[in-house]
Amino acid sequence: MKQMHLDDAAAVAKAKGGDEEAFRVLVDRHSRSIYRLAYRMTGRAEDAEDVVQDTFVRAYRQLSRFEERSNFATWLYRVGFNCAIDYMRSRPRREAAEAPDVLERRPEADRGPSLDDLVFAGEIGACIETALGSLSPQERAAFLMRHFHEYSIEEICAALDLKSNAAKHSIFRAVRKMRLALRPLMDTRLVKT
């Protein structure tokens, strides 16, 4: 099927009127970025895929609340974070590491670094996942919003319905745990170099 060429604003306007293909344009355009957000939140590919689905379903149902002058991607991120929080709260915490198929999914072009680098990157990922796993969904969302998506404290407060101090303390706790979790790796790296 031929894809429509619409910018986000035009696609949202059509989708609000019930245009299915216009909404598909938005799904195709933003599903990977929402996946990255969801993966960082949940730490598992399967869960991330479920969160992506929940995000677009919720976004469609709440499309009438989206204000035309806002940025759709930013609004969708907020929906995504909240879906991820709800998803994590509704499921028992999982300790399992990433499924083996994740390594299979990485394209050949990404396999440039040395074995040492890959092992080190894997250790970082595992350490970060351990540290993130010890946070509540809300703390995790606040940290990821600030660190990876450069939300301001005010934006985090609005997205997560938090007071300013609560948002800051969520970030403080997350960073402290990151420092603890990553310190041994940093020492190892420094010794090697």
């Binding site: 996946y35 960082r40 895929e49 299979e104 420092r179």
Partner: protein
């Protein structure tokens, strides 16, 4: 700033969340205090390391799968159910025709291609395909059983127990995703497509409670019937078995 900034102050500073006069005070202090500078450096390096954590990219058909799942949830019509009496004979005939076509074409094509490969290299390079087919055989058979059980679930007036089916769907879901990715990588798009088609139903079943009401069960049954999922899975099972047989024949070779 005369006193040492706290760790929290440094975190806010690292993210640019301090007021300008506070930020200037921290910078001034860091120039004079080796102890705080060491903490600051370690904090910055930690935050840089966090950036190094990789997020795996989903495979090429990801957008299509997302759309199929979203479309099913938001836009799928709920037409009246076809009765098994209506669609089974059609599906049966179509299945027979498809299987017959698949058998003839795959047998001829694959036998000659494999024989040529082995003759050229002396090695059967189709080991990965054999592994995938063997795994898929069991997987699809289990999926077929699950779909049959769902279609034949007792039409109780109140709650219907689906704990076993739900657990089975969970198992199938995680393994199915792995096989789908593998099938994509091996260019086996037809099998990948079948796995994609059954995935939304497995997702919904895996996420449903152990007991569902009559309407939820009927909704699942309608989706299985409307999309001819049982037919697709059975056709795939036949194809996988034929291909396994072809591989065995080719590897044994002419005597």
């Amino acid at each position: 700033m005369h006193t040492h900034p706290s760790d929290d102050d440094l975190i806010l500073h690292a993210y640019g969340d301090c007021r300008p006069e506070v930020a200037r005070g921290i910078d001034d202090h860091l120039e004079q205090c080796a102890q705080c500078t060491a903490v600051w450096t370690e904090l910055r390096q930690t935050l840089q390391l966090v950036d190094a954590a990789d997020v795996p990219e989903p495979d090429a058909g990801f957008e299509r799968i997302v759309w199929a799942r979203v479309q099913q949830e938001l836009f799928a019509p709920r037409p009246a159910r076809w009765s098994a009496r209506q669609w089974l004979p059609i599906a049966g005939l179509a299945a027979a025709a498809l299987v017959a076509m698949a058998v003839v074409t795959t047998h001829v094509d694959r036998q000659s291609a494999s024989a040529a490969t082995i003759a050229r290299t002396g090695v059967d390079a189709r080991g990965p395909e054999r592994v995938l087919l063997t795994a898929l055989d069991g997987h699809l058979e289990q999926a077929e059983l699950l779909l049959v059980e769902l279609l034949n679930a007792p039409d109780a007036p109140d709650r219907i127990e689906l704990a076993f089916e739900r657990a089975s769907a969970e198992d199938l879901l995680s393994s199915g995703r792995l096989y789908r990715v593998t099938a994509h990588h091996q260019g086996d798009l037809r099998l990948a497509r079948v796995l994609e088609d059954i995935e939304p139903v497995l997702v919904d079943l895996a996420r449903s409670p152990d007991q569902v009401d009559r309407r939820s069960l009927q909704s699942l049954q309608s989706r299985i019937e409307d999309q001819a999922l049982l037919f697709k899975v059975r056709t795939a099972v036949h194809e996988v078995r034929e291909r396994q047989q072809d591989l065995i024949t080719v590897s044994e070779g002419p005597l």
